[in-house]
């Protein structure tokens, strides 16, 4: 479980997060949704510690993350996997070296054991014969899948995904969404996904948190989201013509 309590964050005096309190459940795909500039990426990056919050508390199970020392945070972060918007794969390393990187840094496994684990992670994200390729020669969807393989290399307890579908076609987006959902349940981890893609919400949104103008406006499940009377959320959810038509035809 990851819990944020009364989070505040501002940049050069401009408030970006205001009094955000939310609990992200274990073994669930928790989605943070909101329009561009609503503060959802800042919330995600604050949760993982890439931004220091101005006020508030962040809990990872029973550990108060915001009160940990640099070394303690380093230790906790070894239990976190993160998929970045652009993949953030190391361009100086091959796919195999990218996935092997956390093992090189934090385990004493032999090369054989590491290779075995790399192959198992790549198989899990349905990638084969790419071990020796460099990230620049992979498609966007493949880079995302390598990013997921790297994120789960050391069996993390928490998985964060920053806009995993950005730049991908709808079919590949569904593949990535389902992969994240499957991994969350197989590894029994807490997953937080930051997205503005309503397809993702309807595919895998077990818990959905809506951020608007830096504040938490709504939270619920993917079933509840279609029947809410929250005006800002409805504007966001039914922004596309297709969603409006579905609503009008009673679907």
């Amino acid at each position: 479980m990851i819990k944020a309590v009364n989070l505040y964050k501002s940049f050069e005096g401009n408030p970006v997060l205001q009094d955000v309190s939310v609990v992200f459940d274990d073994n669930k795909t928790n989605l943070i949704i909101g329009a561009s500039g609503s503060g959802k990426t800042v919330l995600l990056k604050s949760l993982v510690g890439l931004h220091d919050v101005d006020a508030g508390e962040i809990w990872f199970d029973d550990q108060l993350y915001t009160a940990l020392s640099f070394e303690q945070k380093k230790h906790l972060r070894q239990q976190i996997g993160m998929l970045f918007q652009g993949g953030a794969l190391f361009d100086f390393a091959t796919v195999e070296e990218n996935v092997m990187f956390p093992m090189d840094m934090f385990t004493n496994w032999s090369l054989e054991e590491k290779r075995e684990r790399v192959n198992s992670c790549l198989q899990r994200v349905r990638l084969e014969n790419v071990n020796r390729l460099y990230p620049s020669s992979l498609s966007g969807g493949m880079q995302k899948r390598v990013g997921i393989a790297r994120a789960i290399a050391l069996n993390p307890r928490y998985l964060f995904c920053d806009e995993p579908n950005s730049g991908l076609d709808p079919l590949t987006s569904i593949v990535i969404d389902n992969l994240i959902h499957e991994i969350t349940h197989d590894l029994m981890i807490t997953t937080i996904i930051n997205t503005h893609d309503m397809n993702s919400v309807m595919e895998i949104g077990e818990k959905v948190v809506f951020i608007h103008e830096g504040m938490k406006y709504w939270e619920g499940s993917k079933e509840e989201i279609l029947h809410t009377d929250n005006e800002a959320l409805n504007r966001f959810v039914f922004a596309s013509n297709m969603a409006k038509r579905l609503l009008n035809t009673g679907h």
Binding site: K73, R77, A88, M105
Partner: protein, 246 residues
């Protein structure tokens, strides 16, 4: 002024993160070897070319400027040796390296910053500053003083070529000058300067890359700022070290 103090403070805070025991010593030494190649060995050709030409030019200019018949021609070799050892092979070569490896380090780390690769390292629990910067600093500080010694020897060879191939000075006079009143401490002085300058080059250019933000244009700007700051610091520390050591 306040901006300068902020930058200096930020630099020391970064160095506090950099100068720590590496997370994994095996990975560190593997990177160290790669960095010796990148920041040291790859600079051998440019250092050699610059040194041989400068050695030759110093020999010619010194000869033509000694017009008094009371000054022995052997002083040409002496002047070439002293100029190369005291100033050129350390300070001037460091300024050349600031442009070559400084820009490469700042743009490499800056690109990693804007493509979130540094964030990825942090999320894994890796001390990104230590992982990315320490091997570069150690490799340049330990290896590049050898470049200074190489530059010194090649510079003297450049002067020797002039003595051998022209009638500017005889080889005998040149060699006599090279052997005149040699102080071994000057080699130690040159090595200390070169090690200090290389620490400055790698740490300052890495600092500018590490805190790059925005897009590719900002990475380019960070590299430029890094080179300018490195060059300025090299000149200041050259003055300080010369005053302290000589």
């Amino acid at each position: 002024m306040r901006k300068i103090f902020t930058l200096v403070g930020q630099y020391f805070l970064l160095m506090e993160k950099v100068l720590k025991k590496p997370d994994n010593s095996t990975v560190f030494w593997k990177q160290f070897v790669q960095e010796v190649e990148k920041v040291g060995l790859s600079s051998v050709p440019i250092v050699a070319i610059v040194s041989i030409f400068i050695g030759a030019v110093i020999t010619i200019q010194t000869t033509y400027n000694i017009t008094s018949p009371f000054i022995p021609k052997a002083y040409v070799g002496f002047m070439t040796r002293e100029t190369m050892l005291l100033e050129f092979s350390s300070t001037m070569i460091a300024l050349v390296l600031a442009g070559k490896i400084g820009s490469s380090i700042a743009s490499e780390i800056g690109t990693m910053r804007i493509t979130e690769q540094i964030d990825a390292l942090e999320i894994m629990g890796v001390n990104s500053a230590n992982y990315l910067i320490l091997p570069k600093i150690v490799a340049a500080t330990l290896f590049n003083p050898l470049l200074m010694l190489m530059s010194f020897i090649i510079g003297l060879c450049g002067g020797g070529l002039i003595a051998l191939t022209t009638d500017v000075i005889t080889p005998a006079d040149y060699i006599e000058g090279l052997r005149m009143e040699f102080k071994p401490f000057y080699i130690v002085y040159g090595v200390i300067k070169m090690a200090t300058f290389n620490f400055i080059i790698t740490s300052i250019s890495a600092f500018y890359g590490y805190y790059a933000s925005g897009g590719s244009r900002n990475v380019g700007q960070s590299a430029t700022n890094g080179i300018v700051s490195c060059s300025l610091c090299i000149l200041i520390f050259n003055l300080v070290l010369t005053h302290v050591l000589l």
